[in-house]
Symmetry: C2
Subunit: 325 residues, 2 copies
DNA sequence: AAAGAAATGATTATCGCTTGTCATAAAGAC
DNA sequence: GTCTTTATGACAAGCGATAATCATTTCTTT
């Protein structure tokens, strides 16, 4: 592989000048630029990013830590983040914490060892102090981190409000809400708050059940859902915390012979691709994933560049009506 | 951040010795190991992987190039590859070529610039000569690459055979096959071969339609499918090249009021998570994604270690019966 | 006790690039 | 014609490891 030195020799310039051309630093003439360009092409030169990173003790890589890859929500998030990062000249180091604290810690270590420019954290099993030491910019998405650089969220509470209002408007009077993992706090808990608020205001009865970590990890909710529907047979409106759960509710309803949306209306959350592939299609709360990803990358970029960034950014959600209401 | 030097000072040893401890090289006493361990802990030392990579002119990162992230098949593949790579001490640099040659080229450059240990290629818009120059190990998954290091595939032909046999066994006599993108050659084309063979052998009539790149990229097949079902109204058995297409066929059937599986039987391909979320659930050809991912990473590892690796590895597929047959 | 193995020290080149310093020219401003 | 700006050369320190060389010292063996 050709090095800077080779390019310098080939172009008849010195490494200093060539480096200045590459980094757009100091005085450079158009002629020099041209000569460097030609030499680079001729030698098929690619700067060694590793050496660059070492020299600057920071790379152009973003560590992306997610608790799950196969989950439809994270798929969308990862896909958009990759794109946004690419647009801004960053690469993505993909880290799947599998929702395990030890793995998350390990990945954080890996990120620091690899001198990532920053971390985008969609996983949240690790306390802030772990980050305090390492001095890396961290942008969270839909996670709390007491003292993090910046947090991006959607308006979860509003999502809960929209769902409740819609179900009630549809005439449902016995609501059921399938929420987050018990004992783990995250912004998504606010969906429950919003939902609860509306139900209480409207004096509509509602039940609430929590989920378990193992269900989240394996994405298997069916058994639990069947049980819940058996336990609350009068349920006529259901608000669940993800499209995956909603899709599996449809499966359970199929088995229990509960017609949707005739006897039971369902509203999911996320508006992932999956929402358009079920029968009927899912009515759901749309999270602006594209925008959230874009903002997250921008925040990280700004923070790395030393700019002051907002600690919290909340984006609006909206109800997307399809076939389950 | 603490460096090797600091650890050396703290442990009362020299950098040479500490480096030898870290890399398990040469003679080292247990006492030295201990002292280094303690010093590392005390200083919260993490080796700078960037410096390491520069020194060895190769990193422990694998460049993973996919044409798509949101596609259910690639999701599973990415998830498994990440896990397998992690197990073997590799990191994943996630590259989404979006099925665009220029982007793929660019990502290949990025990979070389970042001195990846090797590339796992699930995308295939770039000719081999691009790789020839750079001298990087490349393992392909479900792609042809004339002169690549190693290729991992599933037995696509057998998949086609199984699908055809099943449909015919179910009594279908007017088959339709939705194949790959026209003009682009890939191992998945062999599914069509196997399917065709059986149909011809059994004298069962079948139609075949190709898809377009834009459909693949956007994952929107519905219009095309509706059209196809209108054009061939006597169709009673359908074999499509992915679960995404199968799921959208269900959507189309819903709109056209074609009962599945009563009047039309459908077999998909991949056996992604999605296959269990549709109504009815998809009968499909299972690709052993976990094993393919594991083998791909192993092959890359072996190849990087200088071992001789098989040029082609073909894994068996199997029919998974669910509700669409 | 002699010989070899085991363990470490001390030092340094190397990886490829960034960035700083200082010197030196040539071009343009006034 | 001086002064500044622009453009480059020449050189070298530094980023944080790896790994090689050579010199020592301590421990085993026989």
């Amino acid at each position: 592989m050709a090095t800077l030195k080779d390019v310098a020799r080939e172009s008849g310039l010195t490494v200093g000048t060539v480096s200045r051309v590459l980094n757009n630093r100091g005085y450079i003439s158009d002629r020099a630029r041209e000569k460097v360009d030609q030499a680079m092409k001729k030698l098929n030169y690619r700067p060694n990013e590793v050496a660059r990173s070492l020299s600057k003790s920071s790379s152009n890589t973003i560590g992306l830590i997610v608790p799950h890859i196969r989950h439809p929500y994270f798929i969308e998030m990862i896909s958009h983040l990759e794109y946004q990062a690419y647009q801004k000249g960053y690469r993505i180091l993909l880290c799947n914490s599998r929702n395990i604290q030890e793995k998350e810690r390990e990945y954080i270590d890996i990120c620091t060892g690899n001198k990532v420019a920053g971390i985008i954290l969609c996983s949240g099993t690790v306390p802030m102090e772990v980050f305090d030491k390492i001095g890396i910019s961290v942008v969270t998405i839909e996670r709390f981190l007491d003292n993090g650089t910046a947090a991006v969220e959607c308006d979860n509470r509003q999502g809960g409000v929209l769902a409740a209002e819609k179900l009630i408007a549809c005439g449902c009077r016995h609501l059921l809400h399938v929420g987050n993992i018990g004992g783990v706090f995250m912004p998504a808990d606010m969906r429950t708050e919003g939902f609860r608020e509306v139900c209480e205001r409207e004096h509509v009865h509602f039940e609430e059940i929590l989920t378990e970590e193992i269900q989240y990890d394996s994405m298997m909710y069916e058994e639990m859902l069947e049980e819940a529907l058996r336990k609350f047979p009068e349920t006529d409106g259901l608000f669940v915390n993800s499209d995956v759960i909603a899709a599996q509710t449809l499966q359970a309803c199929g088995r229990l012979r509960i017609p949707v949306p005739e006897r039971l209306k369902i509203i999911g959350f996320d508006d992932a691709f999956l929402a358009t592939l079920t029968t009927p299609r899912l009515t759901t709360i749309h999270q602006p994933v594209r925008e959230m990803a874009e903002i997250a990358v921008n925040l990280l970029h700004d923070s790395v560049s030393g700019k002051l960034v907002p600690k919290r950014t909340v984006l609006p959600v909206r109800l997307v009506e399809r076939g389950t209401t």
